[in-house]
């Protein structure tokens, strides 16, 4: 019997569930467990993690048995760049202000695309920064600092 992955989709989905289960247990291991009668903060997450690992194993094992879909190529560059762009925006809006945060978000997101046209990006930065400022800061008066000094 050969161990060939027949359904990549099931296999990777299973691994993902196992990963989340392990992560949940690792983070929850510092929380007091308690008992089934008096559950501590760690009781629920730990057991859900265990269930996730079990279910994930079954799903991953099914990937060896049944035919299924193939997983396409991962688009690593856009995925990583977009995640960084959103995270950077979250950090920047509190630390270096709304306007620079918008610029960082737009430029990083544009870099994730297939083509990077400098003129288009500059135009989009201008339009979106002014538009977002007019809408969120001026009209709705959301309390975000415009620059880093206030």
């Amino acid at each position: 019997m050969s161990l060939k992955i027949k359904s990549q989709e099931d296999f990777w989905a299973g691994l993902m569930f196992i990963g989340f289960g392990i992560l949940a247990i690792i983070i929850a291991r510092d929380y007091p467990m308690g008992s089934a009668m008096r559950m501590g903060p760690g009781y629920f997450p730990t057991w859900i993690g265990v269930i996730l690992i079990i279910l994930g194993s079954i799903i991953a094992a099914m990937g060896f048995k049944f035919e299924g879909e193939k997983v396409g190529n991962f688009a690593w560059r856009p995925m990583i760049l977009l995640s960084i762009a959103f995270a950077a925006f979250g950090w920047a809006i509190d630390n270096i202000g709304f306007i620079l945060a918008m610029v960082i978000l737009i430029v990083l997101s544009a870099l994730a695309g297939k083509e990077f046209r400098i003129k288009g990006v500059i135009a989009m930065v201008a339009v979106l920064v002014v538009g977002a400022w007019a809408l969120f800061i001026y009209a709705l008066e959301l309390p975000f600092p415009l620059w880093w000094w206030r």
Partner: protein
């Protein structure tokens, strides 16, 4: 007709107040602004009302209430616009609109989809208001009797229903529900007050808000699905 004797005078009083021209104007202004704000993804009715509350300070109490109600309904409807056009639910109620509405928009029928959402919003609002007016008192009485067993049963039913309704692999649906439970644990533990899975960030102490999860799931999912197809169109649409 004890029923009518109780409800009819109250309803006529309410309509007489609401139909006066000044109040209708407040209502229109509220709905207009509410829809404008509701279109912004991520700003639901609650946030909109909180932001626009100062605008009603100078109005008489009845007018202010009417305007706030208008903002609420306008916001609820406005959320469906982004849900249909770019598959970003503006607030929790328009998550479902995303699924069918965006499919219609993809086939070039965004106009009809928006119209259906508007008509549906009107009918649901009208019927819902009548139902609340008629059935409010008895339901409120019942809701007060809800205790731990009832909430537990309700939650169990919800979890089982979501496993049954999900199409595709049953096992994956159940695993996803447990994954969802993990995300639901994020925040302060109700029983002990201990914060779990917050990584020391105080912003997570309240847990993940449903709107954030829905937007991340639908908006980000849409981007990732487009990446798989090798297009960067969605990124631009998203921005």
């Amino acid at each position: 007709m004890e029923f009518f004797a109780e409800y009819f005078p109250n309803l006529t009083l309410g309509f007489a107040t609401a139909v006066s021209p000044v109040n209708l104007l407040y209502c229109f202004a509220g709905v207009f602004v509410g829809t404008l704000v509701g279109v912004l993804p991520g700003i639901g009715p609650l946030a909109a009302i909180a932001m626009l509350l100062p605008a009603t300070f100078n109005l008489p109490p009845v007018g202010a209430l009417i305007m706030l109600a208008g903002i609420y309904y306008g916001c609820q409807y406005g959320g469906s616009t982004t849900a249909i056009l770019v598959k970003l639910p503006g607030e929790s109620a328009s998550v479902v609109t995303c699924m069918d509405g965006h499919e219609m928009a993809k086939k070039g029928r965004a106009g009809p989809a928006l119209a259906i959402a508007a008509v549906g919003s009107f009918i649901a609002g009208t019927v819902g208001t009548i139902l609340i007016a008629v059935a409010g008192p008895p339901i409120a009485e019942m809701a007060l009797k809800f205790g731990a067993p009832e909430y537990f049963s309700l939650m169990c039913m919800g979890l089982i229903a979501s496993a049954v309704l999900a199409h595709g692999n049953m096992l994956k649906a159940i695993a996803m529900i447990f994954l969802g439970l993990i995300f639901g644990i994020v925040g302060t533990d109700v029983n002990s007050g201990m914060s779990r899975f917050t990584f020391g960030a105080s912003g997570l102490a309240d847990g993940l808000s449903f709107v954030v999860v829905a937007m991340g799931l639908f908006g980000f999912g849409e981007i990732l699905a487009n990446l798989e197809r090798g297009q960067d169109k969605a990124t631009r649409e998203m921005l």
